[in-house]
Symmetry: C2
Amino acid sequence: MSAGRRAVLLLSGGLDSSTLLFFAREAGFEVFPVAVDYGQRHRREIEAAERVCDHARCALTRLALPSLAAAFRGAALTDPAVEVPHGRYDDDSMRATVVPNRNMVLLSIAGAIAMSRGAALIAYAAHAGDHAIYPDCRPEFVSAMEKALAAAHYSPVRLFTPFLTWKKSEIVGWGAAHEVPLGLTWSCYEGGEKHCGRCGTCVERREAFLAASVSDPTEYEAGDPPA
Amino acid sequence: MSAGRRAVLLLSGGLDSSTLLFFAREAGFEVFPVAVDYGQRHRREIEAAERVCDHARCALTRLALPSLAAAFRGAALTDPAVEVPHGRYDDDSMRATVVPNRNMVLLSIAGAIAMSRGAALIAYAAHAGDHAIYPDCRPEFVSAMEKALAAAHYSPVRLFTPFLTWKKSEIVGWGAAHEVPLGLTWSCYEGGEKHCGRCGTCVERREAFLAASVSDPTEYEAGDPPA
């Protein structure tokens, strides 16, 4: 298979990147999923990434870089001193979950892997619902990263971001229609045994299933479904 | 001190970044040096970074990320299966020392640290002698990275690259004139007890001292000085 049909996928184990694994395959790519342990407190994500890859019969590359948490100090997802926000998935409550420059770090690492293995693409599951909260999920960031990746190497590595203009409910809808094992994915930022059901990303998850009119296979610890 | 006067420095322990520590201080910056263990075989570099920081009475942040070597597979500096090239520091012999996307990975991590700690600058010691060999030391890469860093975060982080147009001998000349402890720095890619004196980067080091008319304090294992 040519380099142009090979894609390194940043797989968090969440709904979006897990669906992207199946989407990229449908689009004809050979996909190399990579999961990075960057010291996040919701390491269940990485177990979820393993389960999704098992289901997809696809080898997962795991990179253990927990010391990155020292670089990401001060963010709720990596620093035990900072509380994970509860409530709605909106700008104010979710700002605390911004891990500074995390996505550039992860995309650079994916770029190194792509360059080493001769893949011309990095699949990145940023979606439209992230734009207001996470600057590094916006189209202008994607475009700037592509230019930096092109300047960094002799052969260009591009980003494959088909969900950039999709709502999360559209991702869930596509996944449900294409037998993506959505129940194996993990969203909760709390890192408990089950999804807490109350943190911002659990609320976002529930709302996405509701809006997509897809039955939610997730077991939540508590909380009513969003109103 | 304001964010605009704080700079995170990528310190490899080599001549260029060690001199940049002193240069940035002379320029009035509060400098936060960071050394990353990315699985390089020349870990003496990191010990050199410690010695330089001790000399400068400056705390070094060390990040242990040896698993990054898996992402950088196939490069001479991280993969034991690939030989370090000997001889002149020219395009052909040194191409094998390109670690794919290493500098973007390191700059992204420095960006995360800068954003977490409220520093507005990353000091990066790329110099003119690197341009032909390392695409990620060229001005176009620096400019593309600045745009990506600006798009990734609410507050911009810029690069401080005063050596971008300097020859290595000019860096040595500045360092010698400003009491930089050049003898404490480490260049050799072989990772032995002393500088080997023969690998491409040892040859480049020797040539820089010669061209700068600065007496070379380095102990080399073997080899005549360059003709």
